[in-house]
Symmetry: C2
Subunit: 407 residues, 2 copies
């Protein structure tokens, strides 16, 4: 009998109706002869409600207590899911992280899973029950609750699937899968059938919010294929899998737009060892996440350092950088109207001409490229936000991403 | 250093403001040099919200899953309380039942505490922290959550106080303590300074809803004095203590009215052994709680059996009793307009004339007594509901309960 692990996110369990619908889905899989484990998130935006309560009593709540608070969200869902399932005649049992020995380190709010005791899950599966596990949470070996950080329920999904050596690992969301671009912006965008872990990592970091990077990294590490699919229909979704030889024939798998970026440029930065380290260490200690970084050194031994941050972080970053630039004797400029368009594909590793094709498409649309950054499987161009959506469309067209390619 | 255990009920932690207020109260006790353990309930009516969610997914949720769901209510409060306290500069730590090894049997929804591992509480108290414990909950030795039934947070309070051999055990509510009668009905009602466990048991069962009987029984068993006091002021409340010799001089400690009762009378019941057992077993299996029972056997070997139930249960009871009376060949009558007035006091054991004084007071007010039931420390009269409040007032006056008596 094969084991299927299925995860339902917050929007798929947001109310009693949707909980029942998710329960039906799991029962259908059970009736098809599989052993079923469900991982569920907190209902809808209930976690936000808990965070709001915490803010009402403390401006800087302890992370241990924050975790103690937040894990209740998933605990509510697991018990309701078990009740719903039993009301439909399917024996079920819910488990918190503590009840299945999902042990993590003690780094509260972003703990890492160390081990899972699957004995109890197997016992209940063998007894014919659907096992419902609380996502996002763990416990330390002393019994304190921890949470796994953003996208934590997907980390739970992958960890459970890996520990059980599950045959199928399904991530149910409210979209049909991973698309070649955001379909709300690019009407010709097409669902991708298969994508590699590395491509997914690049796409996720660009704002395709279906799967958070930690879960994908975890899946890659344990080679767990993830099926991303829609809880509202029966369609096949997107398989996220290890890179295979055939994949290289597809040069570009998808294009993405990251909106709401701000660029900070430091000019006349003294080109001494350790200067860059000092700049980014200072910014990091203020909890500002830096996106891409470029540094160019001029012949006169002064450098230009440019980097992007989320628009929401600009005000905070400005305070830090103003002080820093005075200390370093350089000048800082701030631009709040940036966006980034990127193409991602494992085929880039062996194909040439991807960059040119992208730049040509943007040029033809009269879109000025302000910065360029690349990785082995990604090319990103920083542009003006006003042109962001057009840029995504022309790049998507340039690589014919709307047309189906066999993999 | 003495140990103070203080419990705050749902209304005392209903929102962020009230949580902060309760936190301040605990901090004040800590600053006075005591080690402080707080037991807290779920916020306001949040438990009702969870029960409502459960009803939306299942008409008969499993008790295990119901407990898994309900314990989240207290877990939310403990973490918020710890955050609030730390925001005020007082180190604090929250514990679920599982985290302090509060082991119960596995009777879900009404579990009984078997043991508490106080080591962790002592460690944290010794480190200078206020320890905040989730009321109402326990865990089985296999790690499943349980709940302690109605009034469960008070059971937690008493159990923790007993296990820690605490010096003071305080139950904070939104009233000043236990009164000689409900002050909303009897304006001359007076707060009682000291009351015995047994008197409290009788008063609680009569609807004085401050402390549920299981907590009082638990306190009596372990001889833990409970101080019932108001979280909104600094007044001394009511001490619930073991019976002492001096108490016997007070004949009657309090009077109580139980409203909304219905009387069911069965006439011509065959007077055979086992008939009463059959009647009340049948009623109990339908989850109808029976209040007082009277049986009178006539010379012709047929009995009259009368009993009272909550008005809310009358419709259900009627169905059961109609069927039962056909089987037994007796006639049933139903009255939906009853109330019960009672006086309670340990002094009754050694004093005579209490019943006469009560009956005379009711007669003088032209209140007809329809049934009488007594225990060693209680006399109850069933009357017409329309006269209930008047009855409570005249009985309260007859025993001069509004005047202070030294104990």
């Amino acid at each position: 009998m094969s084991i299927v692990v299925m995860k339902f996110g917050g929007s798929s369990v947001a109310d009693a109706d949707r909980i029942r619908k998710a329960a039906l889905r799991a029962i259908k899989t059970r009736k098809a002869g599989h052993q079923v484990v469900m991982v569920v998130s907190a209902m809808g935006d209930s976690t936000d409600g808990l965070v709001d309560l915490a803010r009402q009593v403390s401006s800087s709540p302890s992370k241990r207590e924050m975790d103690q608070l937040l894990v209740t969200g998933e605990q509510v869902t697991i018990s309701l899911m078990a009740m719903a399932m039993e009301a439909m005649g399917q024996p079920a049992i819910s488990f918190t992280a503590g009840q299945i020995g999902m042990i993590t380190d003690d780094v509260h709010t972003k703990a890492r899973i160390k081990s899972i005791d699957v004995r109890r899950i197997h016992e209940q599966l063998d007894a014919g029950k659907v096992v419902i596990v609380a996502g996002f949470q763990g416990v330390t070996k002393e019994g304190a609750y921890t949470t796994l950080g953003r996208g934590g329920s997907n980390v739970t999904l992958v960890a459970i699937a890996a520990a059980l050596k599950a045959d199928v690992c399904e991530n149910y969301t409210d979209v049909d899968g991973i698309f070649t671009a955001d379909p709300r912006i690019v009407p010709t965008a097409r669902k991708i059938d298969r994508v590699s872990y590395d491509e997914m990592l690049e796409l996720a970091s660009l704002g395709a919010n279906v799967l958070h990077n930690r879960a994908v990294e975890f899946a890659k590490k344990y080679n767990v294929p993830i099926h991303v699919r829609n809880s509202n229909n029966e369609k096949k979704g997107t398989m996220i899998v290890a890179e295979s030889h055939g994949m290289e024939r597809i040069v570009v798998s998808g294009a993405a737009l990251k909106d709401k970026l701000a660029r900070i440029t430091l000019r006349n930065v003294p080109d001494r060892p350790g200067t860059a380290a000092k700049i980014f260490h200072t910014i990091a200690t203020h909890n500002i996440v830096v996106d891409d970084i470029i540094q160019i050194v001029a012949p006169n031994r002064v450098a230009t350092v440019a980097f992007t941050v989320d628009l929401a972080d600009l005000a905070d970053a400005r305070k830090v950088v103003d002080k820093l630039s005075r200390e370093l004797g350089c000048t800082a400029t701030y631009e709040d109207h940036m966006a980034k368009v990127s193409v991602v594909g494992v085929g880039m590793r062996v194909h040439t001409g991807v960059a040119e094709r992208m730049f040509a498409a943007l040029a033809k649309a009269k879109i000025n490229i302000q910065n360029i950054t690349t990785s082995e499987i990604k090319i990103s161009c920083l542009i003006d936000r006003a042109q962001g959506k057009t840029a995504l469309k022309v790049v998507h067209d340039a690589f014919k991403l709307g047309k189906r390619n066999k993999r």
